[in-house]
Symmetry: C2
Subunit: 207 residues, 2 copies
Amino acid sequence: MPVRVASAEVSVKKRLLDSAIRLFTARGYTATSVREIVEGAGVTKPALYYHFESKEAVYLAILNDLASYTDEVIARSRVASGPVRERLEGFLVTLFEAFEEKKADVRFINAVFWGPPQGAPPFDFATFHNKLLVVLSEIVRDGIASGELRAADPNDMTLVLMGVLSFTMDLTLARPELGVGKDGLRRVLDLLFKGIAAPGRRTEKPK
Amino acid sequence: MPVRVASAEVSVKKRLLDSAIRLFTARGYTATSVREIVEGAGVTKPALYYHFESKEAVYLAILNDLASYTDEVIARSRVASGPVRERLEGFLVTLFEAFEEKKADVRFINAVFWGPPQGAPPFDFATFHNKLLVVLSEIVRDGIASGELRAADPNDMTLVLMGVLSFTMDLTLARPELGVGKDGLRRVLDLLFKGIAAPGRRTEKPK
DNA sequence: CCTAGGTTACCTACCGGTCGGTAGTGTCGT
DNA sequence: ACGACACTACCGACCGGTAGGTAACCTAGG
């Protein structure tokens, strides 16, 4: 806890964190050297080891910051009342908007999530992932109970919803030219509600 | 191209490739040393440099093998005729089965795709991704033309379908305990056809 | 006796981490 | 009011270890 920092200057710790996330995103954990991180922050190596225990600790600090930010976003995107259709659309679109503003961070999380450990310490993604699932399946269960949604397996329904959100984000990151944006997400959600089968047709597979 | 190899023995080159993919998957490109690769293959370092130009070349060789295998799987999973419902289900379920048999490879591809370059050369994923998209959107367009599918934006429909397949796979990899398997995929596809809204209800959002 | 397919031994560059040192700011006994 | 001392926040130099890569040498088959 620095007693005083030269005014109008970003703290060394913050600069180290910024430099680290930029480099970890661009090159990965192992391929990023401590030297590069401190160089990007305009300090020297011992300054990093003064503020953090190790290179791993820097990495974990970034992940923890990101995790608590994400928790916050999920919590404030949650729509607790109203028609299920609107609650679902509100929740998913708000999340998508948050994603659009933090693409670089989401890309970093994706890389860490799918990437190999690389010598970096493991991180508990399941917990964070569950928070999303919990909010969504809450809305789905409400919808089935109230008769607004079809009486199907709620897990299947949650999966479809998560899948659509997740894939819309992934597509935007991976193939920006194919991304559909939040309006596309709305259209797709509409499709999901109505079904892709032509109306008035038998949709069952003949047995 | 070895003229003769001690019989009943896998070629050194193949063993190097096997060892490399195992280690790259477990630890990542940068965190895997050439020493570890050759140790896993039971040879020495210069043997690797005899068969490959560099560490990067080993990595690219793996990616190319995987890419051509994947092309093959997509090609033979393609269902070109029959009711659209069955074509879609056939194609997606066959792909999912192939995925279930090669989870480790898919995980590796995911890691490479989302992960940072790590000093490894870039790889053209878009082309491979497009092959999937092409087959799916072909079926979708046929379905809309024949009246079997709702007259909606074919891109949106393709996205929903891809999203469901992709997320089902991702979930299986990331949270095996939540994976729904190919039967789950079939149920979800059924849901997609019928829509998640309760039958007989207004599904439009009131304007 | 040459060449394909290796091996042993070694190079240089760079890695994460730590050393001893210090400028600047508080704090406190007198 | 002031010197003694402590603490925070860093720096330059350097550590042992390991990375990718290579030069030179061996050895079996044709």
